[in-house]
Amino acid sequence: MRRYVVTVLLAVAMVVGAGVALGGPSAPAPTPVSGANPAALSRVGGDRLDDLIAGLQSHLRTQPKDARSWATLGVAYVEQARLTGDPTYYPKAEGVLRRSMEEQAQDNEAALTGMAALAAARHDFAAALAWTDQSLEVNPASARTWAVRTDALVELGRYRAAQRAAVRADDLDPGIPTFTRLSYLAELHGDLDEAERLLRLARRSARTPSDVAFVRVQLGDLARRQGRLSAAESHYAAALAARPDDVPALVGRSHVAAAEGTLDKAITLLTEAVTRLPAPEHLITLGELYAASGDQERAEEQYAVVRGAARLAEANGVSTDLELALFEADHGDPAAAVRAARAEWARRHSIHAADALGWALHAAGQDREALRYARSATRLGTKDARLLFHRGMIETALGRVGAARRTLRAALAADPHFSPLRAPIARRTLANLGRS
């Protein structure tokens, strides 16, 4: 009987584990649609992941030599951290993955890929890439390793290599993890139709509630940014129907409410989201919603929490998030923002790192240098209103009227409601440029 249970457990763990890791792309971070919480979470979401973890934990208490199960548990912890936003699981994941490598030092592909996913989740993308190198030496035909590698390459700004890795993963094992990654790459290159087509493919293969929620939020974000608010709203509603406490879906609805001009509703929704998961990016957005509604005091309260999060990140030795660098540029100390963004740029040349550095330099008054980075941030032709807004404002500051007018128009065309604080600034600036 017991043997039977263990066998079943192992079988489930291997199947699900494969799914998890394959899903498990990296870094959330800067971009809304980013590999953020990709199909990953979805694969084994919510309760199934809890069950898997509990099953593996009890299995490993009796079978502590099982390297494969240690690796699967490590990947499951990474997923749990991403799904719940609870970073406590990262050190646990690392301990468990290292244990797996102790039990099986050679050719432990599962643990190596797990370490890659963990490094990516912790925003150490160079390390993530190096781990996938090792893992691919063991098994060059592992779709999940290529998927994690895609995330690392995207965040490092090596988009062409990322595209190749994603195609490779897709050739080996097409599915939600590869569709969403290819879609994100298409979106970064400004090909929104292709991005949408790929997401619809993903939606067709989505079965579990978390899969459905994840893909629907992606579709919702894509629709919202193109101004198709009612389509976006119905995607978010479907996501929440599948997973009632899905934070990204709540955040999406809040954005829709803000775009529709109902700031109170947007604030209520986002307050619920940050109560569940006080991620800095959401706290910043909430503060800006308060500021847009004229409640500067409440806005400052949210900013104070964001500053606390920044201090914690520093105390933990975590490299500052690009969101926090942008926050410093907008609401804090421009010099500190430049320092943080330069440090990040030294590590990686992604368009979002370029954007953060450009905007920080602009806030510090160094517009000439800022423009170089703003151009780099828009080098892929991404139709991202925030990137374009930053570049347009820098061009305006440099007096390049024609370029500024074109860029700001493109920003508002990409998403007329991209920010309750900045969309009005973009319009005003554009109007002033028109007059001059």
Binding site: D50, I53, A54, Q57, L60, R61, Q80, T84, G85, D86, P87, T88, K92, G95, V96, R99, D245, V274, T275, R276, L277, P278, E301, A304, V305, G308, A309, R311, L312, E314, A315, N316
Partner: protein
């Protein structure tokens, strides 16, 4: 062979000791960050069901980020500092909110919760930030309970946020016949979160309890002893409930309880613990009679009874003394004692081997290897038994012959003196009895609470007798097994490894006893100093 053995043994002992120390010390490593992450809101609800009320000790531990988010609510005058008044106001409103998010029902009918007291405390956290700890005492009136009543508790606020969610439940004059939550807090009420790679944060948001009126009252120091007693399993729990139940008294009832005491004591000694193991090894390693087993048993009973009485006296005399604080020290003391006994055993084993080697080389130089010589030594030593335990030896005729044929062997068996081994036996007994069983303490305190202290003493004595019976039986079993094996070797011979193990028994057992002693000492000391 013997020459090779000694350094090997020393190395093995050292290695084991180091491993033991490392194994004990590692998990104690401190953590800088909030152990459950800076995002978490951790909550604990300690339920106590009494005959007429439900009391809930509710604790909220807000890590750095939630504490920051709460700051505007606490700092009502916006002066960026928390005055005691602000903290008190915040605590009161938080506890009210907590109470309203909780639902408690008895047989489906809701009982409203009210806040009795509330406190909030700001504690230093990471990165120069702080964390918040809020404690609420909540209560609800309960209707008159009858056996089989169901109490359901749910904390809806636990759904909101990430974090540790824990519920415990105990009865106070009420017995929980079924509960889906433990009695004891795994996080020590959110002060020490277990950090194990194979543990997820606890996620208990609701509890369902089945109640029966009647049962022991919680003692002033309700914590550890009550909790540990219940962990002893169904029999122990039933026994403490019986012994504490106030309604019954009378001669038959008392007799039943005393008998039950013996049984519970006997099963307690069967539960995993070190006393028996050590004693079994001790007896196995030395050439001992059944009288030795009795000596240990008697010492265990005496020490244990005395220990429980002393602890009971201290607990009932002092309101602040927590028995739990004494346990680590007692553990360390008994560990040290055991380690010393182990060293003595090792020393004796070495000496007797040296002696045997000398005897073998002079008396019988032509006879080959040391193994035979060692075998001789054993045979003599063991056949001298005169005590009540002699029976098994007699059963095997040939063994007896050997014994009688070799008169001077007596001298060999005992040169290191009965006094030394006698004190060793007593030391083992003391070490085994030094740790008072929590069950016995609870039973004693319960009897004292009922106004029958002498009856409590009697119960504890019976409990100790039960323990001694099991321990003695275990010792006899070991002796008998060993005699049987040696008998067999003489008559039919034993497979090589088994025979070799039998020869090295004294060294082996000395090592085990020593290592167990060291492990216990270290664990006791880390508990006492670290905790």
């Amino acid at each position: 062979m013997t020459g090779r053995l000694r350094p090997a043994v020393v190395v093995a002992v050292l290695l084991l000791a180091i491993l033991a120390i490392a194994g004990v010390a590692l998990p104690v490593a401190p953590a800088a960050a909030h152990p459950l992450g800076n995002f978490t809101v951790n909550r604990y609800s300690g339920l106590v069901v009494a005959a007429d009320e439900l009391r809930v000790h509710h604790v909220l531990d807000l890590a750095e980020i939630p504490a920051l988010q709460a700051e505007p609510d606490v700092d009502s005058n916006d002066d960026a500092s928390f005055s005691p008044a602000e903290l008190a106001t915040y605590a009161a409103s938080t506890c009210r909110r907590s109470a309203s998010a909780m639902t408690a029902t008895v047989n489906g009918r809701a009982v409203p919760m009210t806040v009795e007291t509330s406190t909030a405390e700001r504690l230093p956290g990471q990165g120069g930030l702080s964390t918040l700890r809020i404690e609420c005492e909540l209560r609800a009136d309960l209707p008159a309970l009858s056996p089989g009543d169901r109490l359901e508790f749910r904390d809806a606020a636990a759904d909101d946020r990430l974090g540790w969610r824990e519920i415990t439940a105990r009865g106070d004059g009420v017995t929980l016949t079924a509960a889906d939550v433990p009695e004891q807090s795994r996080s020590d009420e959110l002060t020490a979160y277990p950090e194990d790679l194979l543990d997820s944060p606890l996620d208990q948001r609701a509890a369902t309890l089945e109640l029966r009126p009647g049962g022991p009252r919680l003692t002033a120091q309700d914590g550890p002893s009550a909790g540990e007693a219940s962990r002893g399993g169904g029999l122990t729990a039933a026994f403490t409930a019986l012994a504490g139940s106030a309604e019954r008294s009378g001669a038959w009832w008392s007799l039943l309880l005393i008998l039950l005491s013996v049984v519970v004591g006997a099963t307690h000694a069967l539960a995993p613990g070190h006393g028996k193991t050590v004693m079994a090894f001790y007896l196995a390693g030395r050439d001992r009679s059944a009288r030795a087993a009795l000596t240990v048993g008697a010492t265990v009973t005496a020490t244990h009874t005395a220990g429980v009485l002393v602890l009971g006296l201290i607990v009932s005399a002092s309101a602040t003394f927590a028995p739990a604080s004494a346990y680590p020290w007692l553990t360390a003391a008994s560990g040290a004692l055991i380690a010393v006994v182990g060293l003595v055993l090792l020393r004796d084993a070495r000496r007797s081997r040296a002696r045997r080697r000398a005897a073998a080389s002079t008396a019988d130089p032509s006879q080959q290897p040391v193994t035979t010589a060692v075998g001789h030594g054993h045979r003599h030593g063991h056949d001298h038994g005169h005590g009540p335990g002699h029976g098994p030896g007699h059963d095997h005729g040939p063994g007896h012959d050997h014994g009688t044929a070799d008169g001077h062997s007596h001298g060999h068996g005992h040169p290191h003196g009965p006094e030394a081994s006698r004190s060793g036996l007593i030391a083992i007994g003391v070490a085994g009895g030094l740790l008072p069983s929590p069950t016995a303490v609870v039973v004693l305190l319960g009897a004292v609470g009922l106004g029958r202290p002498w009856f409590g003493v009697l119960l504890v004595l019976a409990f100790g007798l039960g323990m001694a019976a099991t321990l003695t039986a275990a010792g006899l079993l070991v002796l008998r097994t060993r005699r049987h094996l040696e008998q067999r070797r003489r008559t039919r011979g034993l497979p090589g490894p088994l025979a070799a193990a039998l020869d090295r028994l004294p060294v082996l057992t000395g090592t085990v006893v020593f290592v167990v002693g060291v492990v216990l000492t270290v664990r006791g000391l880390t508990g006492a100093l670290g905790g």
